[in-house]
Amino acid sequence: MTRPATARWSLFLFVLPALAVYLLFAVVPLFSSIVMSFFDTDGEAGNLFVGLSNYVYLFTQPVVSARFWNALANSAKYFAVHVIVEVPIGLLLAALLTSGVLRRSEGVYRTLLFIPATLSVVIVGFIWRLIINPLWGLVGFPLLGNPSTALTTISLMSVWQYVGIPMVFLYSALLAVPNDLVEASRLDGASPWRIFWDIKFPLIVPQFGLIVILTFIWTFNGFDLVFALNGSAPGPNYSTDILGTFFYRSFFGSSGQVADLDIGATVATVIFTIMLLVTGGYFWLVQRRLRAHMV
């Protein structure tokens, strides 16, 4: 059936408000910041096209580039902790929730485990800061004061907060697994372990891949928890500085660092490019080959 022209127009009209807001507040700023990264806007001469020199500065100025690579490495570490800890725990919780062993308390657990994700990061940071405070808290070791443990500690706080997200994501995927397959394998004598790994998991692999790449996007965009705990020059010795805080410091300045909008825009563009390449590469190389087994 073909739609009449008026219906097609009204479809466009329905989308228009959301599209306009999205264009105005997401797409336009994105492109203007990319454009800005090729200009020197705060010099004597006003707006001056400088080509790639902002990028050259970012990658060659010894102090700035060292901070940038440090922040990139820390972001990678931040992501790694999430993938290694948060996603598997989320999968485990989702598997337990759908296994039937919890019976009627399933809803209670689902809610309880998801609640932290709805809390403000400022609250989460404050609570954890008190819990691990060497003076008043449970742990005598200065976890946040040691460069080798600080970033992992903050990552684990974030994992605690957001573990509910992969959990509900994978939970809903697991609910969609047809019951007759599970029943059939059970009749064939498969153990719950075997049922999960040979029946259920292969059926949710595409969603599992998706949550991994979403975690990548969330962690590389990460900023708020680190900022809430350690400010815009996160120590000790920049060991908890991630791309988000590095960008914030460049664009908005910090106590001792003068804000430089052009360098900030350059950093933002570099972060955007990294995420675009990784996400694009993932969808191109991996996701399109993942097929849930057709039933």
Binding site: P134, L135, P142, G145, N146, G235, P236, S254, S255, G256
Partner: protein
């Protein structure tokens, strides 16, 4: 139609009201000055105390206090002045930001303002370029050591005056086993510099002599005086609470106000906090290096007021600034905002006893601002930020003062001209 006449009446009424308001504005005699500031928390002080006092003696001038948020202040003033809508009076940031503003021609000259004679050159340094001062100093903050008088009495201690005595006092508190000697943590690196090194350091690098030496390139951070200052700060390590690496500024203040630590290296702005629990608190200044040696005190210029060069009310603005430089204003302001101190050389008395003790520390001491905020932080890497970071490294690892000062000097010399020539 009923609505038409009603609307006409309304329009006529509105016209009448606006004409009336224009007329009153034209008839009103006093000149109104606007004062831009970042101290939103001072709104009540200015409106209820400072400005009524000024207007009482100057009925022909009215001043309107117009603060914006601290974090937005610099950007707001810059865009307002560039756009021609700046306030008549501008509150001046200390050092580099203000030097930039002076360079851009934001300020009218203060030549011939008699009140400027009330301030020493050191007090005016933060707002002076090439010998000309563009802002009248309003207030400074001081750094020193709050101490718990009851603990000192219990252990039979007196406030130390020399570095050796300071160590002895710390050791005795440590030996008592009941209290932590120093409430100090390394989680927030700014206060390691501002309340720690920049407080005890001037005694070693001889205050202004060392600071100006770094600025004109005749001194280096690797000189023995500076290394000795860093070493003296590192010597605090055994006297800090366990887990100090992760303790924040508020943790330190709490440790002290709960009576679990004897001494808190801090800034004067924290006066209200440390006495909030009714603790018996005294204050002593950074110790001299040797007995009978010169004492130094960190006096950090915080704010001043200058005149917008584009303002049409220069004369009235000068009258106001002359009043700001006098004792009446200073007396009102510093007593409304405890922790802030007058910078003029006229006697000002403080109602808050602890503030008065703090002010008394200035007697006989040479004053010096924070080490690295004047010119030394206007490039990449900014020296001040680097000192924060390196102090945190030094206090949380085994890094030596020699390594730290060496790296700081290399960083500074990488961009700061006067340090490169040598």
């Amino acid at each position: 139609m009923r609505w038409k006449p009603a609307r006409t009446t309304l329009a006529i009424l509105a016209l009448g009201v606006s004409i009336a308001s224009i007329a009153t504005a034209a008839m009103a005699e006093p000149v109104t000055l606007t004062l831009g500031s970042w101290r939103t928390e001072d709104l009540a002080i200015w409106q209820d105390q400072v400005l009524p006092a000024f207007e009482a003696s100057h009925p022909d001038i009215k001043v309107e206090f117009a603060p914006v948020n601290t974090n937005e202040y610099n950007a707001a003033i810059q865009s307002q002045i560039e756009g021609g809508t700046g306030p008549d009076l501008i509150t001046c940031r200390p050092f580099d930001v203000n030097n930039e503003w002076i360079g851009r021609g934001y300020f009218a000259s203060l030549d011939g303002l008699a009140g400027l004679a009330n301030f020493t050159d050191t007090a005016k340094a933060a707002w002076t370029v090439d010998g000309a001062t563009y802002c009248v100093p309003v207030a400074a903050v001081l750094a020193g050591f709050f101490y718990n008088i009851d603990i000192f009495n219990e252990l039979g201690l007196t406030p130390p005056t020399t570095a050796a005595e300071f160590t002895t006092v710390l050791q005795k508190i440590q030996d008592s086993g009941k209290y932590t000697p120093l409430a100090e943590g390394s989680s927030e690196s700014w206060q390691l510099a501002y309340n720690g090194l920049y407080s005890i350091g001037p005694a070693y690098w001889k205050g202004e002599e060392g600071r100006l030496g770094l600025i004109d390139g005749t001194k280096k951070l690797t000189d023995p005086d500076f290394v000795a200052a860093f070493a003296a700060f590192q010597a605090w390590k055994p006297f800090l609470p366990s887990g100090q690496e992760a303790l924040s500024y508020s943790d330190m203040t709490q440790l002290f106000t709960l009576g679990r630590a004897a001494i808190l290296p801090d800034g004067s702005w924290n006066i209200n906090q440390v006495t909030s629990t009714g603790l018996n608190v005294g204050v002593f200044g950074p110790p001299a290096v040797e007995a009978g040696g010169q004492r130094y005190l960190q006096e950090m210029p915080d704010m001043a007021i200058g005149i917008n060069a584009a303002s049409a009310k220069q004369d009235a603005a000068k009258v106001f600034l002359d009043w700001v430089s006098g004792p009446e204003f200073q007396q009102i302001y510093v007593n409304s905002a405890p922790g802030f101190f007058a910078m003029s050389n006229q006697a000002v008395t403080y109602d808050n006893p602890l503030a008065q003790h703090f002010a008394d520390l200035k007697t006989g001491a040479l004053l010096t601002p924070r080490l690295a905020l004047d010119r030394l932080s206007a490039g990449t890497p900014p020296l001040d930020d680097e000192i924060w970071r390196q102090l945190q490294v030094m206090m949380t690892s085994d890094t030596t003062p020699e390594t730290v000062t060496g790296e700081l000097q290399t960083g500074l010399a990488s961009w700061y001209g006067p340090q490169q020539a040598k």
